[in-house]
Symmetry: C2
DNA sequence: CGTTTTCTTTTGTATGATGAATGACTCTAT
DNA sequence: ATAGAGTCATTCATCATACAAAAGAAAACG
């Protein structure tokens, strides 16, 4: 329980991050009660103000519930804002819960093919252009880092092309959470652009507004991705 | 900008609710800056502590960003935690943005058939039992209110049966947001259980673990739902 | 005119005091 | 001994105040 003191920025933000990470860790099961404010202040070496604001932020994310006399307790996970970037980050950062990765991949398998189908039907010229540009960046990638960045941009562009802000937000969160889980596993370089072919197929289908093809190729792409890191299905 | 003082509970929670509703309203576009803390205190008649904690909570939901000297400004909507129950509630509560309803329905159209398919494959005995019970409650419903409650429970049971906590959380949020939008539209009673047949079909498909049938019937069910309130597609 | 310095506004952090809620305890009466 | 009522202590909630730090704006300076 120490402040990560990095650049997160403000103090209460650092406290929130520390506590968030702590709460998401397996040692703090649901229903566990946090130390009282005074003790948290001592342990973290900050004022009650900072601790309090951090607790308010975590409460806003559904992770905590504070009551007088009873103390501040961890709420059951099903009530957390699981699709909050911070919450998902804390869950992913530590012990790579194998189950979480599987569940995320299932979500992606649901969302992205549907998004590709929608994008094929709904995209505007500008959105298509952005997608083509992202694909070009993938083709041009020479390092693993470049490829990861371009890959994220590609998938994000497809989401954008659906025109559905909910889908854009959600897909982006799921994808980046998965990305953060995968980079830990340090996949091999060298053949990193094997999937380029299928990315091109999806793009082509979207270009000709073929919703079904876009969906099918996206499914194939994801299946390939799963196969590439050990099929935890 | 007045406190709803009702039940929300704690003061900062009420302030958060007031500000959240305000920020979500169309008059506060992205980039707009809030009045400074002192003025907010005056207007709301509370101490700086309460205002600050409310702002911290809203920042945690991605809606605000506070900086010294610059003030506290509203972040662009795409950075909000759209799948937070509060945020979605604030968006739904006011001017029933027609677009939001459409986007939510699209999400539901993506999630629920996939959930039905998964549920057919993954459900346990206990989960199936809960689903059967929920269906029985729908059959027994005699008032519109009873039926809405039972319907929500039915769909929630299907989500539970997928065993995917992410899907459970997400589907639940989307469904309840839609429900809150629909109840405003006060759909007709009388024929409220026309959809019972299809609910039964989905259940039957899940019972015999037929993933494809479950998915197809769920699609039909949702199409019927859309048709019933004016097909905003 | 461009650069640097100073200033001023706004949020960030700390501290102390008081209020309110509520579980735990005690004390009584039966 | 037990049930109930009343008291108490602990913890969070709220308020008020003071000072620090950041960052744009304005002024001073070369």
């Amino acid at each position: 329980m120490s402040l990560s003191s990095q650049p997160g920025s403000s103090l209460h933000h650092q406290v929130m991050d520390s506590l968030g990470r702590l709460i998401a860790s397996p040692e703090y099961g649901p229903g566990a009660t946090l130390p009282n404010e005074e003790e948290l202040c001592e342990r973290l070496g900050v004022s009650r103000t900072a601790v309090r604001e951090a607790i308010k932020a975590l409460s806003a994310k559904g992770m905590l519930e504070a009551r007088p006399r009873t103390g501040t307790r961890v709420r059951p996970q099903e009530q957390w804002s699981l699709f909050d970037a911070d919450v998902l980050g804390w869950l992913c950062s530590q012990g790579v819960d194998q189950a979480l990765g599987r569940h995320l991949m299932v979500m992606r398998g649901i969302l992205e093919p549907a998004a590709a189908s929608l994008a094929a039907r709904m995209h505007t010229d500008a959105q298509l252009q952005a997608l083509q540009q992202a694909f070009a960046a993938m083709e041009a990638a020479t390092s693993i880092d470049e490829w990861v960045v371009a890959d994220l941009a590609y998938h994000q562009s497809i989401l954008q092309a659906t025109g559905n802000p909910l889908l854009i937000s959600l897909g982006g969160i799921v994808a980046s959470a998965l990305e953060s889980l995968l980079t830990v596993n340090a996949q091999q370089a060298g053949q990193f652009n094997d999937g380029l072919l299928m990315h091109g197929k999806v793009l082509a289908a979207i270009e000709r507004r073929s919703a079904d093809d876009a969906q099918l190729w996206m499914r194939a792409l994801l299946a390939d991705t799963i196969a590439r890191w050990g099929a935890p299905a």
